[in-house]
């Protein structure tokens, strides 16, 4: 007989003191935090501009556009699904806005609204198809990825005769909409893009939803075990469709930031970005199998991306090296996550 077995059932005497290290290790984003710190220190030492305020403005902006999407994709991945159409959606939404504003002469605000409705409809369709057919979302959204890619190019060429839409600056409402999505603000005499604020805001909201609401609890549950969740009354279909719509909403946000910042959009934009979103989410501690991960982690994953991409530029290296970095980073992240998660579960025994 052990001593604990005869102790009164206050239960906590078996817990011992929670070690700070063990508490930390349970968090899914811990690996990404360490990685971000490492990358930050490395480029701060190796290059001069990296640590300057101007440098920070650049890599934060790079990270923000990726980060908004990575956070949405992370939520979807925690819910157990993928969205390969997320990258090309950022172009589709920008194209819809631009075509409506430049070709039909609609007010930019109205164009944005229609574009948002379009995005949410595509997201809902993705979700509905996945739930209805029971096929892996990987395949279903690969289909919508290809279809959107074709639509982007086909319709743009049909309407404008080229593969880009430009001339947004003359559209009514460009200034005011631009203020919301693409303006800059000053810190220490350096301009920071407002997209950074959108990124932080989106991360905070997503993280709050995940950790502090019913819906967040359901997201973890449907990703971890959707049958069990359904059995205890979680609306699995509705929740998953909402997650696909969230990803589409994020794509609309990024698309709108793009079109209002550059005033033009290429029809082939966004292709290939979908994997960067997934990679950022995985670096941030999301499991590919769902049910585990964090929004803050995905945001940090995007930060690592932004820092490395710009750091390599500052260091004067060829940008080819970025892909190598990416591959190594991804593998390291998966290995570290795996180890930390196992440790986290063992610690609690």
């Amino acid at each position: 007989m052990t001593v604990t077995a005869t102790a009164p059932p206050a239960a906590d005497e078996r817990l011992g003191k929670p070690k700070a290290m063990d508490q930390l290790i349970k968090r899914p984003e811990i690996g990404a935090m360490l990685g971000a710190l490492l990358v930050f220190l490395f480029f701060s030492v190796v290059t001069e501009q990296f640590l300057s305020i101007g440098g920070a403005a650049t890599w934060l902006d790079d990270a923000s556009m990726l980060g908004i999407m990575a956070v949405a994709v992370a939520m979807l991945m925690i819910g157990g699904e993928f969205d390969l159409s997320a990258g090309v959606m950022t172009a589709s939404t920008a194209l819809v806005t631009a075509l409506l504003a430049t070709q039909l002469g609609l007010n930019v605000w109205l164009s944005l609204l229609v574009s948002l409705a379009f995005a949410l409809a595509v997201g809902a369709l993705n979700g509905w198809l996945v739930m209805r057919t029971g096929l892996p979302s990987f395949i279903v959204t690969l289909g919508s990825f290809l279809a959107l890619q074709g639509l982007n190019l086909g319709i743009t060429r049909l309407v404008t005769g080229s593969v880009q839409v430009s001339g947004m600056r003359d559209a009514a409402g460009y200034e005011s909409a631009g203020f919301l999505f693409a303006s800059t603000f000053q810190i220490g005499g350096t301009s920071f893009y407002v997209s950074i604020i959108w990124w932080v805001l989106f991360t905070v909201v997503a993280s709050t939803v995940l950790m502090r609401t019913k819906f967040g609890n359901w997201i973890f549950a449907i990703g971890g075990a959707s049958q069990s969740s359904r059995a205890v009354g979680v609306p699995v279909v509705r929740s998953k469709i909402l997650l696909f719509m969230t990803t589409a909403f994020a794509a609309w946000l990024v698309g709108s930031i793009n079109i209002l910042r550059y005033a033009s959009v290429q029809a082939n934009q966004g292709i290939g970005l979908e994997f960067q979103y997934i990679i950022a989410a995985v670096i941030g501690g999301c499991l590919l199998t769902g049910g585990f991960g964090s929004a803050v982690g995905a945001a940090i994953g995007a930060l690592i991306f932004g820092m490395a991409r710009q750091g390599i530029v500052y260091a004067g290296w060829n940008s080819d090296w970025f892909q190598l970095f990416l591959g190594v980073m991804l593998l390291a992240a998966v290995l570290v996550n795996n180890m930390l998660r196992r440790r986290a579960e063992r610690v609690r025994r």
């Binding site: 973890f220 205890v232 009354g233 063992r346």
Partner: protein
């Protein structure tokens, strides 16, 4: 007293396959109705109808005397019928208290999760059932199979289930753990719940059961009150009586 659940000649077909046909049984408050049968006997089909996962297409299904046809598990839950499935009772990576409240989360006035309340209630509800966990923040995946079943049972009891359906709760467990789970089944019964216990082990069913429904190939092989049958007869009936004797004979032949 009206029964909590009553089925009369209930049946279900999937296309041309007859999964269940003319099965009648009752579940009363404070009693355990055991459903026994080999693989493919129709046990799962029966409980899926009771739990609202599938709909019956013959016979009648009454809950507290009212003819009913559930269109989702949620509806069954709202009528107080909770089901604990064998292997998918819980979400392994989520903490015990989050699992406990899944689908019925406590919220604050602002609509956020009330985490403190959630943990406290979970701890209390579990200890009321005699389950003493170290920490309700630990992932359910770190619990043993028996403990997981117990968490799921405690959850159903806490949320006011009138009927508790347990799908092979002891199937994957060792002797000792199965005993622990059966103890909680008895506790739920003594608290006045009607329990439906699905199993293929008569030794698990007999000690806690009040009523035994034997299924074979989608049909009722027999339905007995505890006073009408003893454990040996139950085992024999389940194994197919004469068939088993023949098999025993055959196996002896091999030995010799």
């Amino acid at each position: 007293m009206t029964s909590l659940i009553e089925t009369e000649n209930i049946g279900k077909t999937y296309g041309s396959v007859i999964a269940l046909s003319e099965v009648s049984t009752v579940v009363n408050a404070g009693e355990v109705t055991c459903v026994l049968g080999d693989n493919g006997a129709g046990k799962s089909t029966l409980i899926k109808i009771l739990a609202g996962v599938h709909q019956h297409d013959q016979g009648s299904f009454r809950v507290e005397g009212e003819e009913i046809r559930f269109s989702s598990p949620r509806e069954a839950l709202d009528r107080g019928i909770a089901t604990v499935y064998q292997d998918l009772a819980v979400v392994p990576l989520m903490s015990v208290w989050r699992n406990f409240f899944l689908g019925s989360e406590p919220t604050t006035k602002l609509g956020f999760l009330d985490r403190k309340k959630g943990k406290e209630i979970t701890k209390k509800a579990l200890s009321d059932m005699g389950i003493d966990l170290r920490d309700v923040e630990q992932p359910v995946g770190t619990l043993s199979g028996g403990e997981r079943q117990c968490v799921a049972i405690a959850r159903a009891v806490h949320f006011g289930a009138k009927v508790l359906i347990l799908d092979e709760p002891t199937a994957a467990l060792g002797v000792k753990q199965a005993g622990v789970v059966l103890k909680y089944v008895a506790q739920a019964r003594d608290r006045g719940l009607g329990v439906v216990l699905i199993t293929h082990n008569p030794h698990h069913a007999y000690p806690v059961g009040n009523r035994f429904l034997l299924l074979k190939r989608g049909r009722a092989l027999g339905s007995y009150e505890k006073s009408e049958i003893d454990i040996n007869e139950l085992t024999k009936q389940m194994a197919g009586g004469a068939e088993l004797e023949a098999l025993e004979h055959e196996l002896r032949g091999v030995e010799a």
